[in-house]
C-alpha cells in the first residue's frame, strides 16, 4: 500500500463514518461557501475611524506613515522620505499601473528602476491592495505589478494604500482577494505585512530589521 492510501485509511478507520454522505456534504458545503467566524468589534468602524485605527496600529509595530489627498503627491513624498534619511535617491518598483500613473518622472532627481529586487536595492515602493484596521496590516499580492522580493529584500519599504481600501478586518481583505482574483485562483503569495521585520531571539529584546526591511513607511492616499 502506498503512503497516501495508508495514511488516509488509518484516518478513516478512526472516524465515525456511519453517515458518510453527511460527512462529505459537511466538507463540501464548508469549502464551497466559506463563512466568516466571529469578527471582533474593534475594527467595525466608519471609514475615517478605520483609517485612524489602521495608522495607530501600524505605528505601534514601529512603522511610520503619512497621508495625502492625491496619488500624484506620492513621488514627492517618496523622494522626501529618502532625502530625510540620507538615503540615495534611488527607488525600485514593479509594473503596478497605479504606481506608474503617479508621474514619478516629475521627480527629476529620483532614479527609478522597475522589476524584482536582486538584493542590492536600498529602497522599494509597492502598492497594497488592502489594509486591515483591526491589526494594522497591509495586504500585498505577488506578481509583476508588485514583485514579492521588493517586500523583503530592500532595507526600506514604502507601501502605498488607497484610503478606500482600508477595511476593518482580515475577512474584508479576503473578500477583496476573492473579488480581485476570482474564487479559484490565488497569486503565488498573498503577503500580510504588519510592520517592519523584527526579532526577539536574543534575550527577548525586540529589534527591528531582522532579515526583511528595517523600516516600513505607509502612505495612505485619499
Amino acid at each position: 500500500m502506498d503512503s497516501r492510501t495508508a495514511i488516509l485509511s488509518k484516518i478513516k478507520a478512526t472516524r465515525d463514518r456511519r453517515d458518510e454522505t453527511a460527512r462529505r456534504a459537511a466538507v463540501e458545503s464548508r469549502l464551497a461557501r466559506p463563512v466568516a467566524g466571529l469578527i471582533p468589534a474593534r475594527g467595525q468602524l466608519d471609514p475615517e475611524g478605520r483609517i485612524a485605527l489602521f495608522l495607530d496600529m501600524i505605528e505601534r509595530t514601529g512603522a511610520t506613515h503619512e497621508r495625502t489627498a492625491g496619488a500624484e503627491d506620492v513621488p514627492a513624498l517618496a523622494a522626501r522620505y529618502l532625502r530625510e534619511r540620507n538615503l540615495p535617491a534611488r527607488l525600485k518598483r514593479g509594473t503596478d499601473p497605479r504606481l506608474k500613473a503617479m508621474g514619478f518622472e516629475r521627480e527629476a532627481a529620483l532614479s527609478l528602476t522597475e522589476g524584482p529586487s536582486d538584493g542590492s536595492d536600498l529602497a522599494a515602493i509597492s502598492h497594497a491592495d488592502f489594509a486591515i484596521a483591526e491589526t494594522g496590516t497591509l495586504m500585498l499580492l505577488s506578481g509583476p505589478d508588485n514583485p514579492v522580493t521588493l517586500t523583503f529584500l530592500p532595507e526600506h519599504h514604502i507601501v502605498v494604500v488607497r484610503a478606500e481600501d482600508v477595511g476593518g478586518d482580515m475577512e474584508a481583505a479576503l473578500a477583496r482577494l476573492r473579488m480581485l482574483k476570482g474564487k479559484e485562483t490565488m497569486p503565488r503569495t498573498v503577503n500580510f505585512v504588519s510592520g517592519p521585520s523584527r526579532s526577539a531571539d536574543i534575550e527577548q529584546t525586540i529589534l527591528l530589521g531582522a532579515h526583511g526591511p528595517r523600516a516600513l513607511h505607509v502612505i495612505v492616499v485619499g
Binding site: D2, S3, R4, I7, L8, K10, I11, T14, R15, D16, R23, A26, V27, L31, P34, V35, G37, L38, P40, A41, R42, M57, S117, G119, T135, S142, P144, P147, V148, T149, F152, L153, D169, M170, E171, L174, L177, T185, M186, R188, T189, V190, N191, F192, V193, S194, P196, S197, R198, S199, A200, D201, I202, Q204, T205, G209, A210, H211, G212, P213
Partner: protein, 472 residues
C-alpha cells in the same frame, strides 16, 4: 535528535544548577507572560475566539481524511506537488530526493518544528547537502550544534554573551576588533552573513502554520522575514507539514490567526503572514519555479481516536510552556525531546512511545495554568494524567513510587486504620519538629528535604481537627 527524555530528572537537576541558564530563563516570564495578558485584555472576544477555535479544529479532525483529499487536489491544480510520508524516515527520503533532482548543494530553512522532529538537517548533511537555518534563533543554535529549547524562541536558553562567543568563533572573516556587545550588533551581523546564503540556496524549506483546503495554500507566520526570503529566492520551495495543520477555508485561517500571535508573543498579528499557493506564475519575475508539500503522519494517525486526539488541535503557540512553572525552572532542553513544556510532555510520548519518554508526564505540578492559557483549550493536565496511568500500567514507574503507592493504597482502603496510622505519624513528626516547627530531614523524603525544610505538623490530622471543630 537523540532522545534524552528518560533522563528528565538528571537533566532537570543539572539545569537547576546552571547559572547561565537560570539567568536566561528569567526572560521567559519577563518576555511572554505579560505581553500575552495585555493582548488578551485588549480583545474582549478572546475567550469566545478560543471556543470557536476549539470547535473548528475538532470539526477538522472529524473530517481530516476528506479535507486532506480536497487540499491535495487544490495544490495539484495550482501546479504544486504533494508527497505523503508515514514516518520521519520516509519524509527525509522524499526531501532528499527533491533536493537531488534539483541538484541542490545548499538548502536554506525557515523555522520549522516538524523538520526538527524528523531531524532533517543531520540527514541532509550526511548526504552532502548543506542545510542553513535562517531564523536568528535557529541559526544561533545550529552554530552551537544544539536543538531548540522553545518552540517559538529556540535560543531562549542563551544570553547575549554566549551568542557573541559563537559569532566570533564562526564568522572568522570579520575583524576581531568589532563590537558585538549589543544585541543589535549581533542581529546585523547575522543578517549580513545570511543574506548571501538565501541567494546561494537551490532549495528553500519552510514549515507551515496552516494548510488551507479551499485554496491549496500553505501559510507561514513569522516576524523576521527569513521564511519569506527562504521560499522566494530558492528555485524550489519545499513545505514540510504534519497532517493536522489543515484548516478548511481562508476565513477559518483568519479566525485562528487571531489566537496565534496573541497567545505566542502578545502581538495582534505577527509581522509577516504569508499564504503561498503553487510555484511562481508564468508572468511572475520572482518566486520559486517548483512547489512541493510533504505531508507527514509520523504518529499522528495513532493519536486519532485515542485519549490524546485533542492534542492534534495544537497550533504550536508556546503559551503552555511560557506559563509553566516547571519549564521556568528547568528550561526546554531538560525535556530531552524536540517539544518541551506541557505540550511536549503530552506529545513526545505519543510520537516516541511512553517507554522512550521516561518521566515527561511527571514533569508537571498540575497547577493547570497551561490549560487555562491554551488557545485551543487542550486539556493538557488531563492528558498528562492519562500518560501517568499508562506508565503505571506498563510497570514503568520507579520501584520506590510503586511500593509507596501500594503501601498508601493498603491504608487508603481501610479508613479506620488510615486514621489511626496518620494520627500516630502526626504526633511523631510533631514531636520531632522541635521549637522551630520544621523538619530538615525525613526518612524516604530526601527529595524534599534536601532542598527545603518540611513544616512539622501541628499534632492533629485534618479529619481529627474537622471532627473536633464541628463538634465544638
Amino acid at each position: 535528535m537523540e532522545l534524552t527524555s528518560p533522563a528528565f530528572k538528571a537533566n532537570a537537576a543539572r539545569a537547576l544548577q546552571d547559572a547561565q541558564l537560570q539567568k536566561a530563563l528569567g526572560n521567559v516570564e519577563k518576555g511572554f507572560v505579560a505581553k500575552r495578558a495585555a493582548a488578551r485584555q485588549a480583545l474582549p472576544e478572546f475567550e469566545a475566539l478560543r471556543d470557536q477555535g476549539r470547535a473548528l479544529k475538532t470539526h477538522v479532525l472529524e473530517h481530516l481524511d476528506l479535507y486532506l483529499e480536497a487540499y491535495e487536489a487544490k495544490v495539484k491544480a495550482s501546479g504544486g506537488h504533494v508527497h505523503w510520508a508515514e514516518s520521519a524516515e520516509q519524509a527525509r527520503e522524499i526531501i532528499l530526493d527533491i533536493c537531488r533532482k534539483a541538484e541542490a548543494k545548499t538548502v536554506t530553512k525557515g523555522k520549522s518544528m516538524i523538520s526538527e522532529e524528523i531531524d532533517l538537517n543531520t540527514f541532509l548533511e550526511e548526504n552532502g547537502i548543506e542545510a542553513v537555518e535562517t531564523d536568528l534563533g535557529e541559526y544561533i543554535i545550529q552554530l552551537r550544534h544544539e536543538h531548540p529549547s522553545h518552540i517559538i524562541a529556540p535560543a531562549i536558553h542563551l544570553n547575549k554573551e554566549q551568542v557573541e562567543e559563537d559569532f566570533r568563533r564562526v564568522h572568522t572573516h570579520l575583524p576581531d576588533s568589532r563590537d558585538l556587545s549589543e544585541p543589535v550588533a549581533l542581529l546585523s551581523e547575522a543578517r549580513a552573513v545570511l543574506r548571501q546564503r538565501y541567494f546561494e540556496a537551490d532549495v528553500g524549506i519552510t514549515g507551515a502554520n496552516f494548510l488551507i483546503a479551499e485554496t491549496g495554500s500553505s501559510v507561514i507566520v513569522t516576524n523576521e522575514g527569513n521564511g519569506d526570503l527562504t521560499q522566494s529566492l530558492a528555485r524550489v520551495h519545499v513545505v514540510v507539514a504534519s497532517i493536522e495543520k489543515i484548516v478548511p477555508t481562508l476565513e477559518d485561517c483568519a479566525s485562528i490567526l487571531r489566537l496565534l500571535a496573541r497567545s505566542a508573543t502578545g502581538q495582534d498579528m505577527s509581522v509577516y503572514t504569508t499564504f503561498s499557493t503553487g510555484p511562481r506564475r508564468p508572468e511572475d519575475e520572482d518566486g520559486p519555479e517548483a512547489y512541493h508539500v510533504v505531508l507527514i503522519d509520523n504518529g499522528r494517525t495513532a493519536m486519532l481516536g485515542s485519549e490524546f486526539e485533542e492534542m492534534l488541535r495544537c497550533i504550536r503557540c508556546g503559551a503552555c510552556m511560557n506559563h509553566c512553572p516547571v519549564y521556568h525552572a528547568v528550561g526546554g532542553h531538560a525535556y530531552g525531546s524536540v517539544y518541551p513544556g506541557p505540550m511536549g510532555a503530552v506529545l513526545t510520548p505519543s510520537l516516541n512511545g511512553i517507554n522512550r519518554s521516561g518521566h515527561l508526564p511527571n514533569a508537571s505540578t498540575f497547577c493547570g495554568r497551561c490549560e487555562s492559557v491554551c488557545p485551543m483549550k487542550i486539556p493538557l493536565p488531563k492528558m498528562m494524567r492519562h500518560w501517568r496511568e499508562r506508565e503505571f500500567e506498563k510497570n514503568l514507574t520507579p520501584a520506590a513510587t510503586r511500593y509507596g503507592l501500594g503501601f498508601w493504597a493498603f491504608f487508603a482502603k481501610r479508613p479506620a486504620l488510615y486514621r489511626r496510622a496518620a494520627g500516630l505519624g502526626m504526633r511523631l513528626l510533631s514531636a520531632f519538629g522541635g521549637e522551630k516547627r520544621r523538619l530538615s530531614r525525613l526518612p524516604l523524603a530526601g527529595g524534599w528535604t534536601d532542598f527545603r525544610d518540611m513544616p512539622a505538623p501541628e499534632g492533629e490530622t485534618f479529619v481529627a481537627a474537622f471532627n473536633r471543630q464541628r463538634g465544638a
